[in-house]
């Protein structure tokens, strides 16, 4: 089978983008994988364990990161974004803006000397702001490429012209403050959008107290707290007094199934909440968890058994309910006021910690990207795909997969990513 030697652009270096890139590379196509963060890995790298097998997220992700980095057919461009698109299916001219890393990728050996001495402390986005990182930093421990980056908004030298301590401590002369953002062009035959999701920020839901009550956290913050590579080394501590919580409430449908704040269903939260409750119990067998839900959505392979195991072996109680509000007592314990929907009664429950199962929303940068690419977004800003051609966007030649398209779990993201690769290959092998 002959093909025209055209290349493919994959936008987004999460598990979907990585899978699509690997498939295409294995098929013999050349792939440009662009990622806006300093490392590939996406949201999966932030998770502790993944359902329904509860295996360690980074352990199954890391070999794929290494494969991507090593594959001769894949070129990874980090700190990069698409700024212009011209042309049409089979012949797109894309302009990529690569932001300056200020660290030479082929010189840095990730020895850590610069990070140790960098004077600034910046809230670490990867750890959901629960700990600090430096202005020169490795995005996360197992990140690929395993090279430092300088955050130009917080670097004292780049903002005020002083310091340069990193440059002075680097044994390989890898720091280059003269680096500039640069633009370069690619000519590709097809484009795959795999930009993933941002978690919903529950601050507007003032009744639930996120931001006001210290012991109310989001699910992603919980993942980082319970992860061994997170800010508390995996010891679950509640924010107010760092005591280990024994009674945890998980509230479903935060920022979803809510006509005032995103009416859609986020698909994965029932499952990931059960997982989080299981992890809490594994860390401390005295933990009792209460999951406040509307409908338990667990249709995938092995999912029903997972939920059953949760309530049988992990001390999880599922309460069909609607939560009215959360208050706080003198000791910082959240008090949940809710209506038990099975029997129609108003009830109160005091717990040690509340975890809000926040929904999956499109990345905030996707509006700009959609404009550049000329693809439409649906009413929720997910990439709109055509009916019964679920991986085709509204623009021929541009495909979408994974959470960029709508909230979905890892098995579906991976299957779709492979699917998008097949579609892209079809485009390239036809023209």
């Amino acid at each position: 089978m002959e093909f025209n030697g055209k290349e493919v652009l994959v936008i987004g270096g999460g598990i979907a983008g990585i899978q699509a890139s690997l498939d295409l590379a294995e098929m013999g196509f050349k792939v440009h994988l662009i990622e806006k963060d300093p490392c590939i890995g996406g949201r999966m790298a932030q998770l502790d364990k993944t359902f329904p097998t509860n295996d360690c997220a980074i352990c199954i992700l890391a070999p794929k990161l290494a494969d991507c980095a090593r594959h001769p057919n894949i070129k990874i461009h980090t700190l990069s974004e698409v700024v212009k698109l011209e042309g049409e299916v089979g012949n797109f001219n894309v302009t990529i803006l690569k932001h300056a890393r200020y660290v030479k990728e082929d010189a840095c050996i990730n020895c850590g000397e610069c990070t140790a001495k960098c004077p600034t402390k910046v809230p670490d986005v990867f750890n959901t702001g629960l700990q600090f990182r430096k202005a020169i930093y490795l995005y996360y421990l197992q990140g690929v490429p395993s090279v430092m980056a300088i955050d130009k908004e917080h670097c004292i030298y780049l903002t005020r012209g002083k310091c340069q301590i990193c440059m002075k401590t680097c044994p390989r002369d890898a720091i280059d403050f003269d680096m500039q953002d640069e633009e370069f062009n690619l000519n590709v035959g097809a484009i795959i959008v795999a930009t993933g999701f941002d978690p919903y920020d529950p601050t507007p839901l003032t009744r639930l107290g996120y931001g006001r009550i210290r012991n109310v956290v989001t699910s992603l913050e919980f993942e980082r707290l319970i992860c061994a590579s997170g800010p508390t080394k995996g010891h679950l501590e509640r924010p107010s007094d760092k005591h280990p919580p024994k009674r945890i409430a998980f509230l479903q449908c935060i920022g979803s199934r809510d006509i005032n704040n995103n009416p859609f269903c986020s698909s994965v939260c029932c499952m990931y909440t059960t997982k989080e409750a299981m992890l809490a119990h594994e860390h401390d067998p005295q933990v009792e968890s209460y999951i406040f839900y509307i409908d338990l959505r667990a249709a995938g392979k092995g999912f029903q058994e997972y939920i059953k195991r949760g309530s049988k072996e992990y001390n999880i109680t599922y309460i069909k309910s609607v939560v009215a509000e959360i208050e706080e007592d003198e000791d910082g314990n959240p008090i949940i006021l809710y209506e038990d929907m099975e029997i129609g009664e108003l009830k109160m429950m005091t717990v040690d910690l509340v975890v809000l199962a926040t929904s999956l929303l499109p990345r905030k940068e996707v509006n700009k990207l959609a404009k550049v690419l000329g693809t439409e977004l649906d009413e929720f800003n997910f990439i709109k795909t055509t009916p019964f051609a679920p991986l085709n966007t509204t623009k021929p030649g541009i495909l979408a997969c994974g959470c960029a398209r709508g909230p979905m779990d890892i098995p579906n993201s991976v299957a779709e990513a492979s699917g998008a690769a097949a579609k892209a290959a079809e485009i390239l092998q036809r023209w």
Binding site: N110, F264, S267, G302, M341, F380, F388, G419, Q429
Partner: protein, 554 residues
């Protein structure tokens, strides 16, 4: 073992502070130099960096090394890299040995640096002992037939076939019924767009007319032989038989709707399934005024614990259609949980409620009772039993695996899970692959799913299949099992145990490993009662040498 002198080079990696911060690497290097056959030892900060790799090449050249040991992180990260480096420097990659002194030493013994260093010395000594017995191995090349076999002509099978065919791969599509289309042929309209199902069947023509697709209807598989890239398929159509070769196989056989015999008074007349309702709606022969739909019939119960995912949407879709036809119809849906995930389906649920369809939750320990002209059920909210008038009861039943998928599984030697659906290699990261290379799965044969997910997954399977078909040859890992036919007695234990179905029986009845499928897991070698199987690159000599020097001490 060759006759030439064994010359081992040891490269100890600091891995920044990962290893160097706990283990005394210079001391380790010094120790390595004292070991038998080690002619060169060096430590560096990051062996995997360009500088480190250059050091390895230099060491090989200057000291004429023919065995290379790197003591650093984990083979999972850099073994291919170091092997490739050895190869580039002219040393067979299987003469390379990886000693893990990070994950298995410095990381787990962070608080005991002296002991960790001693342990690292032991590990290196073991590695050196093994290296002496390493053998050069070659990777085999296997030719790949570029054709694909797609089993099943529903929407999944047709999607796979079209994608591969459009890309130039010849496809054989077999379907056991007399026409393509699968379940879609029986459906009225599809959710959430409420398009006619026939719209989706338009690709049938593309499939039938495509020059790269050969369609066999009323056909089943009789036999499958061979391995990835080289399958011999025998099919039968009536009395006729045909044989052909393919390189990859995709299972897209779908699933069937459970007929709930014995449940809720199912009779196919007044108590029917959603599938039967589809037919009625297609024929426009509905005349019920009061309809009750019961969800989770025969699903989420003991013996069939899974949720079939699509039944809620099916019920909602049909309820909306009926209400559209005749707004006076009273429709009540009795449910346990309403499953409408995602951006579109939740809205569909909301719309259904808005159209006046009633919903009542029932508990699995107080299921509804279907009586002559009504349905009795406990309304938990008011803690009272209610009677809902019903002249038609529609049961939403799950998709179940075909009974005879068992036969197909045996033919293709792929596993199924507890409910009879095919079992993929890894639930998350390899959802459409099987553990055995060359066979792929998609659609409802994998697990109940809706049309969009079926299409996506079918494309996924096409993609994965083409990563094999796109190559003329496939390189096969050299560390495989090998049977010594003089010792083999043909007991067949290895064949039964092999998870990859890599061992076949020869004409003389002996075991023979198909190296292209073998993953070198070692299960056969460990189980053979005659010790007739050698696992290359993990031979008894090599492993016993490691144990011996460990026990001997420094």
């Amino acid at each position: 073992m060759s006759n030439e002198e064994v010359r081992i080079g040891v490269f100890v990696c600091h891995c920044g502070t990962n290893i160097g911060g706990v283990i005394d690497c210079p001391a380790l290097t010094e120790y390595a130099r004292t070991l038998l056959h080690v002619v060169f030892a060096q430590d560096n900060l990051y062996t995997c960096s360009e500088a480190g790799l250059a050091q390895i090449k230099k060491g090989i050249e200057e000291y004429k090394l023919n065995r290379v040991i790197v003591a650093s992180c984990s083979p999972r990260t850099h073994e291919p890299l170091f092997r490739a480096t050895c190869q580039e420097a002219g040393v067979n990659p299987y003469y390379f040995h990886f000693v893990n002194i990070r994950d298995q030493c410095s990381w787990v013994h962070m608080n005991e640096p002296e002991k960790a260093t001693e342990k690292a010395k032991d590990l290196i000594r073991m590695g050196v002992a093994r290296a002496y017995y390493l053998q050069a191995l070659e990777k085999n090349q296997v030719d790949i037939d570029p054709r694909a076999l797609v089993i099943g002509g529903g929407i999944a099978g047709m999607t796979v076939a079209l994608n591969l065919a459009n890309r130039g791969f010849p496809v054989k599509l077999i379907e056991r019924k007399d026409k393509l289309g699968g379940l879609l042929n029986d459906l009225n309209k599809v959710f959430p767009s409420l398009d006619d199902a026939t719209k989706l069947l338009e690709i049938k023509d593309q499939v039938l007319e495509h020059r790269n697709i050969t369609v066999f209807t009323s056909t089943v598989i009789k036999d499958v032989e061979g391995y990835v890239g080289n399958y011999n398929i025998t099919i039968t159509k009536g009395d006729e038989e045909e044989q052909f070769k393919v390189g990859a196989i995709i299972i897209a056989t779908g699933a069937e709707v459970l007929e709930p015999k014995g449940l809720y008074g199912y009779d196919g007349q007044k108590v029917i399934t959603q599938l039967q309702l589809e037919k009625i709606l297609k024929e426009k022969s509905l005349n019920a005024k009061n309809i009750v739909m019961i969800q989770c019939v025969g699903a989420r119960i003991d013996g069939r614990p899974y949720c079939s995912g699509i039944c809620c949407m099916v019920a909602l879709k049909n309820a909306q259609l009926i209400k559209e036809l005749n707004p006076d119809t009273q429709i009540t849906i009795l449910y346990r949980d309403i499953l409408t995930p995602g951006t579109e389906y939740e809205k569909f649920y909301r719309d259904t409620r808005a159209k006046g369809i009633l919903f009542l939750k029932y508990s699995p320990d107080r299921p509804p009772f279907v009586e002559e002209d009504h349905v009795r059920v406990l309304n938990q909210f008011i803690q009272e039993e209610v009677q809902i008038p019903a002249d038609l009861v529609v049961l939403s039943t799950p998709l179940i695996a075909y009974e005879d998928s068992k036969n197909l599984a045996q033919l293709l030697k792929v596993p199924r899970e507890a409910n009879g659906f095919f079992l993929e290699a890894h639930v998350k990261l390899r959802p459409v692959d099987f553990a055995t290379d060359g066979v792929f799965i998609c659609g409802c044969a994998h697990w109940p799913k809706d049309i969009n997910d079926t299409i996506s997954q079918a494309l996924g399977a096409a993609s994965r299949a083409s990563t094999i078909l796109a190559h003329r040859t496939l390189e096969v890992e050299g560390a495989v099992a090998r049977v010594n036919e003089e010792l083999c007695v043909g007991c067949g234990i290895c064949m039964k145990l092999c998870p990859y179905d890599a061992i076949a029986r020869t004409e003389e009845g002996l075991a023979h490993v198909r190296e292209v499928v073998c993953k070198g897991c070692g299960l056969c070698g460990a189980s053979c009662p005659e010790q007739a199987i050698t696992i290359l690159h993990f031979t008894n000599d090599q492993i016993l040498a490691q144990i011996k020097v460990l026990m001997e001490g420094k």
